[in-house]
């Protein structure tokens, strides 16, 4: 048996991202993580919503579900439940996941289904040509907020931790090696893994640029004394850190049963391979006798 390589996940679809977009690095990091996890293309499904980054399922040779804006997680959940032997990843932007899809995001965190959710967070709406996003900082001037954003940004890291996500990390598309490793760890984690990725938009975000993050990001795991990923309250406090220095890496990780673990229906064969040709409904009818 020949192991799949990075090239096994390449296809010939023409990529429609701007030159220099952080999404290229995220795509490559995902391929790195999947290939180095020993998976073959047919064992993986990548789900997404709608947005620049959500076009990603077309650029990686796996099964895919490019759904509706903000709705990457419900199909990803259902695909995992339908065939829990698949490795399921979801991708999408900050508008997709933290704006229109915020409800699904929080509920998927507490559900702890074993999928890895990668958010391409560029703090701006790209595909709709530059409007404010839920992670835009207060005061940000965009086409939809020419006088500056009045609201505070959402904090996906602390939201995810308090909502019950069992693996919460942040990466930077400017650090491919670190990001690939984070995604691989997220995939290896049993449960819902969020990887929020700083992914500078080269076209519409002139503040949160590659250089902006390059100068500020430091790795939690590399700091002196390391970082205790089991400290939930500490992780939430750390998620508040923003300014001259911005932490990346794994904020929080918790071991707990996944949603699938608690379903005896999935203890043997995946739903998709359970026979349905001759289901006996005699007992069901007898209940109404």
């Amino acid at each position: 048996m020949i192991m799949a390589t990075l090239a096994s996940f390449n296809n010939t679809n023409k990529i429609q991202w701007c030159p220099g977009c952080g999404d290229f690095a995220i795509l490559l990091a995902m391929k790195n993580a999947i290939a180095s996890s020993g998976l073959e293309p047919h064992q993986v499904c990548v789900s997404s919503g709608v947005g620049c980054g959500s076009k990603l399922p077309h650029y990686i040779k796996t099964y895919g579900f490019e759904g509706l804006h903000g709705r990457s997680l419900p199909p990803a959940t259902a695909i995992k439940l339908s065939n829990h032997e698949l490795t399921v990843l979801a991708v999408g932007g900050d508008g997709d996941g933290y704006g229109i899809g915020l409800g699904h995001f929080l509920h998927t965190c507490r559900r702890n289904i074993d999928i890895t959710y990668i958010v391409q967070n560029n703090q701006i709406y790209g595909l709709t040509t530059g409007q404010t996003s839920p992670t835009s900082e207060k005061g940000t001037k965009t086409r939809s907020t020419p006088h500056g954003v009045i609201e505070l940004p959402v904090n996906p890291i602390s939201l995810a931790i308090s909502a019950g996500a069992s693996f919460v990390a942040r990466g930077f598309s400017g650090d491919l090696k670190h990001l690939s490793e984070l995604i691989k760890l997220g995939m290896a984690h049993k449960g819902f893994a969020l990887i929020d990725v700083f992914q500078p938009c080269v076209t519409y975000n002139k503040v949160n640029t590659f250089q902006f993050f390059q100068q500020r990001c430091y790795k939690l795991q590399d700091q002196q004394g390391g970082w205790d990923t089991t400290d939930k309250i500490g992780a939430i406090a750390k998620a508040e850190e923003w300014g001259e220095k911005i932490p990346i890496g794994i904020f929080y990780q918790q071991k707990r049963p996944t949603y699938e673990d608690e379903l005896p229906q999935l203890s043997k064969v995946p739903l998709v391979r359970q026979p349905i040709d001759n289901i006996d409904i005699t007992k069901l009818m007898d209940e109404f006798y």
Binding site: H42, F65, L68, P74, A78, I79, D277, I281, Y289
Partner: protein
């Protein structure tokens, strides 16, 4: 026990005597209180719906007694709670009915508490119509056995007290005596129950639903049976998630279901289009209730037909059927799963409130001819060595063979964008036309025998009624009156709304001297659909539209029919 539990118990006892049974629930959108009624009708002859006249009224409070005693037949009986209801002299203005004041509350308190109030009343009603006490014991043991012997025994004791209370005052035999007329070989269930069993038989593996009256019992039924039938049942965060989940599950290759009512279906509209565009089979049960908006949550209407046919932007094929009784709810739901798999598109089963929570007795469903047909699913062998598999291949019949996610060589992306044969996004005009045509072509694979309307009554009618959904029941009941009166009346019952059997329907419409329409909405939505698809028009003057959110009565339909025949 609430009055619905007890009403169903009474219905079950009638069924145990070999009678046919129908029940109707009428309750406001409140958890406790309000004016509730539970109507039960039994007969040795086939029956379809409620009729206006009742023979026994159990008025558990004063309002119920006073509001309904005029519906009693001559010689009918009113049982009421003498301990709580004080009826003044002359408050019941009828001399031709029998009145039984019974100390229902006092007896309940004596046997164990207020909670047994309804059971005492049930015992009293049974005694009045001469149901043997052993039958009551049997019924309670069968139905409540799971709750433990103590609870069953306490209810039996309570029923016994009520039973004896009537026996001790019933000097002259009541006009109705329930006797065994045949074997107890029917089941008694609601339209939602029947649709659920149809879905289970079809092999549904994932159910994602957000509770909404009157569809929630689908979620409850499925959740109760998720282990025994290996179904993953998810109460989702909202209907958007529910619909997107069944789209995901359908794309992965399992049979998936959601159920909702109009408000939830509105939230599902966008993902319905996603399933249509990306050719995903999945089934949505929409139990119609009185809208618009929150409307009258626990009351009925048939006003989502056009919405079901048109919901979501753009154009794509979706299957729509509207079962009219419990049998159709079972068989058509089963069929819907097969047809959605055959043509790889979403399907909507439109139920309505009257059908969804009214009980009907029926023979056990015949499963001998039911066959799960999954359409063009690729086997591992068919995919073996296939390097250039195209999920959306443009084929002659429009159907592109599909894999289960996880199979080797079957890679594809289910996508909400227009796409080429490989599933990659395209905006190329020729391909766009090719894909739209291909998707519509799929519908031609559905056999007309699967979608033809049903016909009841006189084969060459002077008057033909056109209707759909749960109105089938009062219409069939009204045909009995018409036949007795020597009138030649037929009923064309349309179940499949898309695809629509235009030729067969037009042919049937042409057999009648006059055609009328009966619908539970204010505009005649089926009438409009018939006109759109056949050119045949039923004018307003020939429509009986009811939109007070209450079901039709066969007596009123018969009056309408009589007037229409006389008017020519």
């Amino acid at each position: 026990m609430g009055i619905m539990t007890l009403g169903n118990m009474f219905g079950k006892m009638l069924k145990m005597h070999g009678l046919n049974v129908v029940t109707v629930n009428d309750f406001p959108s409140l958890i406790r209180g309000g004016h509730n009624t539970n109507y039960i009708r039994g007969d040795s002859e086939p029956i379809y719906s409620a009729i206006k006249q009742i023979d026994v009224l159990v008025g558990l409070n004063k309002e119920a007694a006073l509001r309904h005693y005029n519906e009693l037949s001559k010689g009918g009986a009113l049982i009421y709670d003498e301990s709580k209801v004080k009826l003044a002299e002359g408050e019941i203005k009828r001399g031709d009915i029998r009145v039984f004041p019974i100390q229902l509350s006092a007896i309940a308190l004596k046997v164990g508490g207020e909670i047994f109030f309804n059971t005492v009343a049930l015992g009293a009603a049974c005694a009045l119509v001469s149901i043997e006490f052993a039958v009551i014991e049997d019924a309670m043991k069968q139905t409540w056995g799971r709750k433990g012997p103590e609870i069953v025994q306490k209810n039996i004791n309570a029923a016994k007290e009520g039973y004896q209370a009537i026996k001790s005052v019933l000097k002259e035999q009541f006009k109705i005596k329930i006797a065994k007329v045949g074997p107890d070989n029917q089941i008694l269930l609601t339209g939602n129950d029947a649709a659920c069993i149809g879905a289970v038989k079809a092999g549904v593996k994932l159910v994602a639903e957000y509770p909404m009256s009157p569809s929630s019992s689908v979620l409850h039924f499925m959740a109760a049976h998720e282990f025994s039938h290996s179904i993953v049942v998810k109460h989702t965060e909202d209907e958007i998630a529910a619909m997107n989940m069944i789209a995901g599950a359908g794309a992965a290759g399992v049979r998936a279901l959601t159920a909702t009512s109009g408000g939830g279906f509105s939230l599902m509209a966008e993902a319905l289009g996603l399933a249509g565009l990306s050719e995903i089979p999945c089934v949505i049960i929409n139990v119609q209730r009185a809208g618009p908006s929150t409307g009258l949550p626990t009351y009925g209407e048939q006003a989502d037909l056009k919405f079901a046919l048109c919901a979501s932007q753009g154009e794509f094929p979706r299957l729509v059927c509207a079962p009219g009784d419990v049998e159709e709810a079972f068989y058509e739901t089963f069929k819907m799963f097969n047809l959605t798999d055959l043509v790889q598109t979403p399907g909507i089963v439109l139920l309505d409130k009257e059908l969804s929570d009214g009980y009907q007795s029926t023979r056990k469903f015949d499963t001998s001819k039911l066959k799960v047909e999954r359409g063009k699913l690729l086997s591992d062998a068919q995919l073996d060595g296939k390097a250039d598999y195209k999920r959306f291949e443009i084929t002659e019949d429009g159907i592109s063979p599909r894999p289960l996610m996880g199979q080797k060589n079957g890679l594809f992306v289910a996508t909400s964008y227009e796409h080429d044969e490989t599933s990659f996004t395209t905006e190329e005009p020729k391909l766009r036309v090719g894909m739209i045509d291909k998707r519509w072509r799929k519908i031609k694979n559905i056999k007309s025998s699967d979608i033809v309307p049903k016909y009841y009554g006189d084969a060459n009618p002077d008057l033909l009624i056109v209707g759909w959904g749960s109105t089938k029941s009062p219409i069939l009941e009204s045909l009995k009156f018409a036949k007795k009166a020597g009138m030649k009346v037929g009923y064309l019952h349309i179940v499949w709304m898309y695809p629509f059997a235009s030729n067969e329907i037009l042919a049937a419409l042409k057999t009648a001297k006059k055609v009328v329409g009966i619908e539970m909405n204010s505009t005649g939505q089926l009438r409009d659909l018939v006109r759109e698809r056949t050119g045949f028009y039923i004018p307003d003057s020939q429509m009986y539209l009811k939109y007070d959110a209450r079901p039709f009565y066969p007596e009123d339909i018969f009056e309408f029919v009589k007037n229409q025949i006389e008017r020519k």
